[in-house]
Symmetry: C2
Subunit: 182 residues, 2 copies
DNA sequence: TATCAGTTTCGGTAATTACAGAAATAAATG
DNA sequence: CATTTATTTCTGTAATTACCGAAACTGATA
């Protein structure tokens, strides 16, 4: 009937669910994603409930979540009024979409809060200097990483992949970088 | 007595604990890390218990965990037999250490399992072709990212930072990459 | 308007995870 | 060897999170 009948597909789905929960993603959400990723046709919510033994309401919520990540898309099949769902199949696009959303949800708020904290502490001598410095440095560090990410993200996919294939050879373009290890 | 008296330090510690739990890290573990990061002197376990209102046993376990991540180091202070602990203060080193450990714990096992799955499915015609292909592609994708990471990791810290500062300008060194967005 | 599909909300429950506190063990110190 | 300190293990509990099932609500369709 569907890929859930294949034992290896089941294993994959369980592993994917496990991995999700190690990274703060609801197990059902990642399992549903794995199921859709392995499916060669759009599935409707009812099928997903049955395949993974989940309650209808949770599947609905999880599908919303996956659409929020932009890695699952709603489609329709002819002669069927029900919504159907398909997963993003390009793994690079999928990866970038997940990173973008987690940045939005978990990194951006932390940068905001650290920025507020730093600002609030500025110039107040009753607060130990090293506390101010270290919170400020953390704020700066995360901001720097984020800025780098935004720049890299703006590159074409093909350029990015080419850069990745260069691997450590990118170092050649940095002026004073003779050694390779540290 | 210590940084825990500073309201802003408390806020930082709570935020850091929150963030940890969003990324699959025990809240106590990340709070202890935040406390040590803000401290200007080594702390012993008892102090940490008091500062964060945690049980001695949990602090002990959490400190082991942080040492496992290589972002907290054991030290001693003169005239005191007790173990004391300090956090890695170089944020770049800290970041790389965390990434290395999470790769080891969560990425490497997944690559292994996907590899086994792929191998086990090879050539078996009763398994739908698209299932074999997609699991194989996921395995390949994660392996590629990991290989790239290992290469980049081997570069000197200064080279890495220089590359980061280049931002999207690194694209200049890729032959056919005229456009900037996609 | 009756029906169907979907979403959202809510109360209760199951499962998981985090934690405290005690006890046993180990290891180092003087 | 007694003492101090640290670690580990265990049991029970608290807290959190995940989930089901029902019901209410929305919106589209025929």
């Amino acid at each position: 009937m569907s890929v859930i009948q294949v034992p290896e597909a089941q294993e994959y789905i369980l592993h994917w669910g496990e991995m999700g929960s190690h990274w703060g993603v609801n197990r059902s959400v990642s399992q549903i994603h794995a199921l859709l990723y392995l499916s060669d046709r759009p599935l409707h919510a009812e099928e997903i409930c049955e395949a993974l033994s989940l309650a209808r309401s949770n599947v609905s919520t999880a599908l919303k979540e996956l659409q929020g990540y932009n890695i699952v898309r709603l489609t329709h099949v002819v002669g069927d009024r029900r919504d159907h769902f398909v997963a993003e199949l390009d793994l690079w696009d999928m990866f970038m979409a997940i990173v973008a959303e987690r940045k939005r949800r978990e990194i951006d708020p932390i940068i905001t809060r650290l920025g507020e904290l730093s600002e609030r502490m500025a110039g107040r001598d009753e607060i130990p200097e090293h506390v101010r410095h270290r919170i400020g440095r953390m704020h700066e560090f995360i901001s720097t990483l984020t800025t780098w990410y935004l720049q890299v993200r703006s590159l074409k996919k093909s350029t990015l992949i080419a850069l990745m294939k260069l691997g450590s050879k990118v170092a050649r373009f940095v002026p004073g970088s003779s050694g390779s290890t540290n």
